[in-house]
Symmetry: C2
């Protein structure tokens, strides 16, 4: 595989050169070959940008970190989260990203981690959305997490030799593997990073608790509404969805797996929400028509989602 063999030890300049060659080749081809070449080109360019950025001297000493404009587009959300929500200094951020392996580009529907597979890296999602799914013996599925840009996909990965859930891309996605050996090294060198990873794990656990509560105790309508509220809020925190309308790549079947309902019932419940003028949802786009009303029926209290910021204030 290209990405395993030739990317290491190349300068950003070389990488960009390679990417150009791919693009030229791609121009001559068609169909899936062309797609593949373009994907490789994107990968190379991303890697080049990442290295350039991670290698640049930190501005921290000057007081303000104004890296904003120089951050490559694909990791903007990630970097924003690292700095503002997890309170990492620029030097720590760069150390973290420099420790990463070459990124993986996956298409919608592709599998990032397969249940039972050996995993040797923490996966950080730079871009896109993923779902974490457990498949049961009888073929039923339960989605246990949906991640957005900036989230760590397998926080618990350190604990287990084998992945306990599969992770699928819900949109085209980029993710950055951080090998466990690198985690080990970088967390001892930078205690702030260890702390940040801990907080990230705790934040995800808080979200899971909220899910447990509606799974256990709430009616279908409330569950669905609450999930929509949560995703909206998280997408906006991650800097993606601006406004009240955005891409929402889950099918009704997947919503069912998420909410512990059948897809049929999800459908009917959606129609109720629609008929109440709260939302519109079709063709993978979600539109909130009445946000306050939706929060109401969802009994949604977003405080559990912006906990991170609070902690940083409280602790320092």
């Amino acid at each position: 595989m290209l990405r395993q063999l030739s990317i290491h030890n190349r300068s950003p300049h070389d990488l960009r050169q390679l990417a150009r060659e791919r693009r030229e080749l791609a121009a001559e081809k068609t169909g899936s070959i062309r797609a593949l070449l373009l994907k490789e080109a994107k990968l190379l360019e991303f890697q080049a940008e990442l290295r350039t950025w991670a290698g640049r001297p930190s501005f921290e000493a000057g007081g303000r970190r104004d890296l904003g404009s120089t951050v490559p587009y694909e990791i903007k959300s990630l970097v924003a989260k690292l700095s503002s929500r997890m309170g990492l200094a620029a030097a720590d951020q760069q150390a973290l990203l420099a420790a990463a392996s070459p990124p993986r580009f996956v298409q919608k529907g592709e599998c990032l981690i397969e249940q039972g597979e050996d995993v040797a890296a923490l996966m950080i999602l730079c871009n896109g959305m993923t779902q974490t799914v457990r498949t049961l013996l009888d073929g039923k599925q339960q989605i246990v997490a949906v991640s957005v840009a900036g989230d760590v996909l397998n926080c618990g990965g350190l604990l287990f030799c084998q992945a306990r859930n599969s992770i699928f891309a819900l949109t085209p996605a980029i993710c950055l593997p951080l090998p466990f050996s690198a985690v080990e090294a970088v967390t001892t060198a930078h205690p702030a990073i260890a702390r940040a990873l801990w907080l990230e794990t705790a934040a995800q656990a808080a979200i899971q608790q909220e899910w447990m509560i509606w799974l256990g105790r709430r009616a279908a309508q409330t569950r669905l509404a609450h999930f929509l509220c949560e995703m909206t809020y998280r997408l906006q925190l991650s800097g993606n969805g601006v406004g009240d309308e955005f891409e929402f790549p889950l099918t009704q079947r997947e919503l069912g797996d998420l909410l512990g309902l059948s897809s049929v019932h999800v459908n009917r419940t959606l129609q109720i929400l629609r008929s109440q003028g709260l939302i519109e949802l079709n063709h993978q786009r979600l539109k909130l028509r009445n946000r306050a009303g939706l929060y109401e029926v969802a009994e949604f209290d977003p405080r559990y989602l912006d906990g991170l910021r609070l902690s940083v204030c409280g602790a320092t």
Copy 2:
């Protein structure tokens, strides 16, 4: 309050002396006064033992740590977990425990943390069992966690100014508060502790995922059976329940809140399990009559519970 005012800055010897005085006083009294005095005495003795132990030079240099016999009874489970499951060296363990505030003793049913309350410490459970409960607006409750000796009760506490759930003692319990300021200090001084806390959080998140799966996708019988399996396994890991029979302090109503069922239905489901010869449960004692069979109907795979050990092996 006695425990706030006079415990600090006393030597273990003084503390033991104070405890003796309480016991003498208690002998003259009756009823709740007597109980209170005895509780205070226990507290003082516990604190004395803890200080003695935490202050003793670490045996690490000599290779083996044979502290086992000198560890006070009340924190045996905790220390066992810290050393064997979280891989902390003796010096780290002592640093962690030395940073703790005076312990809290609570009785069955008492509240350790109240929903909405400001919390300024991580709570480590030394002894007993607790449940973590969320109460909804309409009065319904959902239990989101049950903790056993050695667990951290509010892993996510660092994130939030106010507790999101209440925590109640299911048995008489001892817990050791670790003020956030102390956490801050001790984790930067001992990176291994930061790592251990992270792993603990991740382990609890793994348990939560499993709960989400049965809450979402499994029938009442399987849910109940799975929960019983999990608790049995965890109690035994914590070194409490030996054998196939032990104390199980949850009422059927609480089981309902836990499993997202009504107490009536819990009752009927329990009877089915009983009639199948799998378990016996009455008067707060649980007896497993057919462990393999129970695992079967529960679709229980304990690997998610001993993840910690694996990680330590894998990482070092």
